[in-house]
């Protein structure tokens, strides 16, 4: 980067890439959260087969690199006659990956609910929907939040892997600029700066939400 206009255009391009990264992370975290909530049905199913299927899904997703999952889905979708392009494929990859991680976070939150809570809810005769809405959900959200925020940070970082399956985002933009300018340290340093701001920002924001939601006597709140 030798001149001022070049610096400005580099930063602009990287900022656009950062927005795409953030968008990819947000979309797949949202979809992954929905997937994770749906996965709670087999995870806490009374049928053993449901629980086993859940465990196998989580085991496979957590036991293989995201890049391999990305390449598999990227190549498999056209084979299934689904023409999606890299963006949709990328969001699908991250949704499955984050869905499995978030499912484990939520499952941990459910298991952390103290037994007396279940017993008292039952003794009140709460119908199942009300039990989930009034007792389980508020507690699970508070118990799971720190780990959930971690997954959100991981979502931003994992989105960089999608650059390898030709999704144009921050890492891809940085590589593109490097190939033209050879300004490796400054361009990647700027890209690192953008990632740092996004990840650190999410982390701080998460902590604020945690403090705001803290309940007396429960996760995060003083007794």
């Amino acid at each position: 980067m030798t001149s001022w206009p070049m610096f400005v255009s580099t930063v602009t391009l990287l900022a656009r890439g950062a927005l795409v990264s953030l968008w990819l992370a947000a979309a797949s975290t949202a979809a992954g959260t929905v997937l994770a909530v749906l996965l709670m049905a087999p995870a806490f199913s009374r049928i053993g087969l449901g629980r086993s299927a859940y465990r196998v899904f989580v085991w496979v997703v957590r036991g293989t690199p995201v890049l391999v999952q990305a390449l598999l889905i990227f190549y498999a979708l056209p084979a299934l006659d689904l023409q999606t392009g890299p963006y949709i494929a990328g969001v699908i990859v991250l949704t499955l990956y984050l869905g499995a991680l978030i499912a484990e976070v939520i499952r941990g939150g459910v298991l952390a609910i103290p037994r007396p809570q279940w017993d008292s809810a039952r003794s009140l005769g709460l119908p199942p929907i009300a039990l989930l809405r009034r007792v389980v959900a508020p507690l699970v959200i508070r118990y799971s939040l720190p780990a959930y925020v971690n997954v959100c940070v991981m979502a931003v970082k994992a989105s960089s892997v999608l650059s390898i399956i030709s999704v144009w985002e921050l890492t891809f933009a940085a590589r593109e600029i490097i190939e033209r300018t050879l300004a490796v340290f400054s361009v990647l340093g700027l890209a690192a700066g953008f990632y740092f701001v996004m990840c650190f920002g999410i982390d701080r924001l998460g902590r604020r939400v945690e403090a705001r939601l803290a309940l007396r006597g429960f996760a995060g709140g003083r007794a």
Binding site: W59, V60, G63, T64, P65, V66, L67, V68, Q69, L71, L72, Y75, A76, A79, V153, V156, K157, A158, S159, S160, V161, S163, I164, T171, A174, R175, I178, L182, V184, F185, L188, G189, A191, A192, Y195, F196, C199, F200, D203
Partner: protein
């Protein structure tokens, strides 16, 4: 569809080669990352206020950027400052730098679990800082942090797949090459996924056994 024996004969050696590279890179990088994490802990404990701050800044920075960025910085950047290293060394170094940051945090958590009376005892029998660190602190830190360390090493193992982006011929790279040769992408990556699962399983079992071996009553 090829018959399985024929498939194994033709592609087996290629996968085996990739598997070997992945395993070796993961193992060497894991050992180096644990050493680097230990060094960072030592600086945090003994380096005074500024040493502690420097380690904090380092850890925060590395934790909040994706591994791919340091991998590219070292692989593309080091030749510009006259350091022409093989791709696998560049990528391995990036993995060590980042995982060392995570491991130093794991170690810090374990350090806080040690009863501080022990450090007073160490001082009272005249152990130097270095001796206390080596004989009192680290043995317990390692034992307390084994489960978390196992998780981190599995993450490192999975991250070695990113080295395929800088031409290292590990498992994922071999799958990419075979895909280009045969067009059978889907099959190639399913096989690779199974091999990763097996390798992750081996690491998990190893850490599980280690955890059982060192647990004291």
């Amino acid at each position: 569809m090829l018959k399985f024996e024929r498939w194994l004969e033709v592609y087996g050696p290629s996968y085996l080669d990739g598997l070997g590279w992945t395993a070796v890179v993961a193992l060497v990088a894991a050992v180096a990352a644990i050493a680097w994490g230990t060094a960072l802990l030592a600086v945090r404990l003994q380096g005074g206020r500024w040493g502690g701050r420097a380690v904090d800044a380092y850890v925060q920075l590395l934790r909040n950027i994706p591994v791919l960025v340091p991998i590219y910085i070292i692989y593309f950047g080091f030749p510009l400052i006259g350091l022409v290293w093989p791709a696998v060394v560049c990528g391995g170094l990036a993995l060590v730098l980042q995982n060392g940051a995570y491991i130093s945090e794991i170690f810090r958590g374990a350090y806080q679990a040690i009863d501080h009376v022990q450090f007073d005892s160490a001082k009272s029998i005249g152990l130097s800082h270095w001796h206390t660190f080596r004989k009192v602190t680290m043995p317990q830190v390692i034992v307390y942090s084994l489960p978390a360390l196992g998780n981190q090493v599995v993450l490192l193992l999975k991250d070695t797949s990113l080295l395929s982006a800088i031409t290292v011929a590990e498992l994922t790279m071999h799958a990419k090459l075979l895909t280009e040769q045969t067009g059978a992408a889907y099959e190639a990556f399913v096989v690779v996924a199974v091999l990763y699962l097996a390798l992750v399983g081996v690491f998990e079992v190893a850490f599980g056994l280690a955890g059982r071996a060192v647990r004291w009553p």
